[in-house]
Symmetry: C2
Subunit: 92 residues, 2 copies
């Protein structure tokens, strides 16, 4: 298991692997962050709510706990949390 | 946000707070572990599957992703993972 810390510890995650597929669980503290993707990713919100802006759409969309969004590979996305929120990220 | 590590890093979690209530997200590597509770807790499995033995029932019950179990305060529980599995823990 690998502990990752980004943006001065405001985004942290724990990486693990199931059946050869990588996943992380993490927490996003209040703020706005940009992440680049290598592989495509599915972000599943498991506590709280995230806002995400994916690709060139320019729109912030709300993803409350229980919902998910996908990000194409070799791209990036902006993500924002108002209160600390938790996610599972599956690398596709 | 607080990074916690237990059992030589085989169980790790990230603690956060929402609306004054404490939560953690964590990963449990393969193995069997015992945790004591102070406050009552709700464990929500968000990836994989956990087995839990709560109280004096003596039975291991299966909790696949999407299900949850609760543990009384001032007690403890045994938890087991066959593959790395992730959870959200709410302190009640």
């Amino acid at each position: 298991m690998k502990h990752n810390s980004y943006f001065d510890g405001k985004v942290q995650s724990l990486g693990f692997e199931r059946h050869g597929r990588k996943q992380t669980v993490g927490v996003i503290d209040p703020g706005e962050y940009h992440f680049n993707t290598d592989a495509p990713e599915r972000m599943i919100v498991v506590a709280g709510e995230l806002l995400a802006k994916i690709g060139t759409s320019g729109a912030w969309l709300h993803y409350p706990a229980g919902t998910s969004f996908e990000i194409p590979g070799t791209s990036g996305f902006d993500v924002k949390a108002v209160l600390p929120s938790a996610y599972v990220c599956e690398f596709l």
